[in-house]
Symmetry: C2
Subunit: 197 residues, 2 copies
């Protein structure tokens, strides 16, 4: 039982970067099995279908991403600085997995495909958005951020632009678009700051 | 010869939305042939490989996108208004093809895959960026846009955020992120305007 759980976890960890680089259709169960050092066919003891494995792998990758992107900011007292810190972390480390951002990749991969995958991706993005919106809401409550600020408007722009410019970076082969977005996003954060604060 | 060209063009037009929705790996030559009403195997008379067809289909889809996103603005005298117009058009019609933005999809599809595809995508994004940067450069020359504005910084943010929030819209199933990005981008454009102009 315990060994079975460990094998299951290993399959998830081995398949996550493969799905992230090649997409759902681009990965075969056979190559995942090989990469995990398993015998042909035995993968179905752990996952009933390729879709079930893909969901578990994306869930794993997405939860790591959201955690990494929003955690360890409690020591920063200012809400705006928390946001700047999260943006800077994304700009310097946009993905911990080979193949680009697993959330964006899975979003593009699943939007015309698997419904269970789409649900995992939707909930990961909603989680990320909720965590960042909480900083805006906190900043409004503490009088640091203007009370007429719409948290979802700012955070959609933060998440959308970071994800989008990261694709531009991968397309053109340099980091400039991420750096440009950081400057522009900090400018947006300046504009929602209460001047006297 | 003329009939051959027409058939080739039909295959490109039929395959473009299929590749856009399912990705390179998710499409088989057989289903493309069927969709184009061709006999099995005859597709290879027109394209030497699936990759060659995918490049032609993406090239077709990307060129349509860039043209649609940057054209018909000559009647607008102000450079900033040209940019606002292009942004608004993207927000209201983010893609003319089923399955999301073909440029972003192809970027994500090819970044760990086919080199010829990657080249087509890179050149399409570079073309889009160049056309929008030209409006910023024109605005600086005409004294409408601040001379310390970096065209690539503003335009990376415009393209990256529009592409990224469009993915968010498709993930969450509503248009709010695109509308939010339009407000935020117009605010960025306000900030590069020469106040006295």
């Amino acid at each position: 039982m315990r060994k079975g759980e460990a094998t299951r976890q290993r399959i998830i960890e081995v398949s996550a970067p493969l799905f992230n680089q090649r997409g759902y259709e681009g990965c075969s169960m056979q190559e995942i099995m090989l990469a995990a050092g398993l015998e042909k066919g035995s993968i179905y003891r752990y996952f009933e279908s390729k879709e079930a494995l893909a969901v578990a792998a994306f869930e794993h990758a997405c939860s790591l991403s959201v955690k990494f992107r929003t955690s360890d900011v409690e020591h920063i007292p200012s809400s705006l600085e928390k946001l700047r810190f999260c943006i800077h972390r994304f700009v310097t480390t946009p993905s911990t997995l080979q193949g680009g951002c697993p959330m964006l990749n899975a979003a593009v991969d699943s939007d015309d495909g698997s419904l269970p995958l789409r649900k995992v991706v939707r909930s990961a993005f909603a989680d990320w958005k909720k965590r960042l919106c909480a900083f805006v809401i906190e900043g409004i409550a503490q009088g640091e951020i203007r009370s007429d600020t719409k948290p979802a408007m700012v955070i959609d722009m933060v998440i959308g632009s970071l994800e989008g410019v990261y694709v531009l970076c991968r397309v053109q082969g340099d980091r400039a678009p991420l750096k440009h977005a950081e400057v522009m996003l900090n400018q947006i954060l300046d504009s929602i700051k209460v001047p006297s604060h």
